[in-house]
């Protein structure tokens, strides 16, 4: 189960609205390499993971991603607070507004809705950890792309924090992959799938 803590992992205090940039940043809520997909990816993969260190890392990073999703939503919320109809039309945020008003809804910057097809839960630890490492790098690239477009330091600061966490998570997944391989036959890591071919572990 989970407990809610009534604070953000890292503070978000944005005083200037900017619906144009909100439309870009929302992709880290509901886009292909966003925080929602990240959290669902790790929290789905963990159930069949046979190694306790890796089950731990999937649980704890999957949980941290929920906190990152909350930070992204706070950024989008603050960037679009109290917009007038004129501002909505000028910024192009009117197309989002007509369906969601100023509520948060998980979509990519292009408007494509969030979908579970953004991640895989394959049931093979080598396959899943490679996906997880790639996912962290894709999220890092997305944050780099966002940082090229954002000028407001109040927005850049929390985005930079989130970008750094992608790098730390990538490192931990790399260590996890090493732990998995240490359990396998070094002459052929693919001889068996430890999530399927080794039974009655527990």
């Amino acid at each position: 189960m989970w407990n809610y803590e009534k604070r953000l992992q890292h503070p978000v205090r944005i005083t200037q609205t900017n619906p144009k940039i909100a439309q870009v940043i929302i992709t880290q809520f509901g886009g292909p390499d966003g925080e929602l997909a990240a959290s669902m990816r790790y929290l789905s993969q963990r159930y069949t993971m046979p190694y306790k260190e890796v089950t731990g890392i999937l649980t704890d990073i999957g949980t941290e991603e929920l906190a990152h999703m909350e930070m992204i939503c706070a950024i989008v919320y603050q960037l679009t607070k109290d917009l007038t109809p004129e501002q909505l039309i000028e910024s192009g945020f009117d197309k989002y507004y007509v369906d969601h008003t100023l509520a948060l809804w998980p979509q990519a910057a292009s408007g494509a809705p969030w979908t579970a097809t953004y991640f895989q839960s394959k049931g093979d630890p080598i396959t899943d950890l490679h996906e997880d490492m790639a996912a962290e790098q894709k999220a890092r690239t997305t944050y780099d792309n966002i940082l090229r477009l954002v000028k407001d330091p109040e927005v850049c600061e929390p985005i930079r924090f989130l970008r750094e966490r992608e790098i730390v998570h990538y490192q931990r997944f790399g260590e996890s992959l090493r732990i998995v391989q240490d359990h396998l036959d070094s002459k052929n890591f693919y001889a068996i799938n430890p999530e399927f071919d080794i039974r009655s572990r527990n």
Binding site: N3, Y4, E5, K6, R7, L8, Q9, H10, P11, V12, E53, G56, I57, D60, I61, E64, E70, C73, A74, Y77, Q78, V168, H169, R172, E175, S176, I179
Partner: protein, 89 residues
């Protein structure tokens, strides 16, 4: 009565600092469960975090369910702003 009341923003910043230390070393410990330095670091910041959350709840309302002050005659969990709102954490 209020001479020892901590500054709200400073205390919140401290909670963020010690909580982040715990969050980060927790991930390191998942893949290095026997590292003595990391274990000691975790213990130290966990202690600081518990203490800071308790202190914050006492003066400015609870951030966690475990620090909700139950004898109060009002359900204070919903009282203070939510994290994304102005004045929130």
């Amino acid at each position: 009565m209020t001479e020892n009341k901590p500054n709200r923003n400073e205390l919140l910043e401290w909670i963020n600092v010690v909580s982040f230390a715990v969050d980060d070393v927790k991930l390191f410990l998942d893949t290095h469960p026997c590292n003595p330095d990391a274990l000691e670091y975790f213990e130290e910041f966990k202690k600081q975090r518990v203490q800071a959350l308790r202190e914050y709840a006492k003066y400015y309302g609870p951030l966690t369910l475990d620090t909700v002050h139950t004898p109060a005659d009002y359900w204070c969990w919903i009282n203070e702003p939510w994290p994304w709102q102005e004045g929130g954490c």
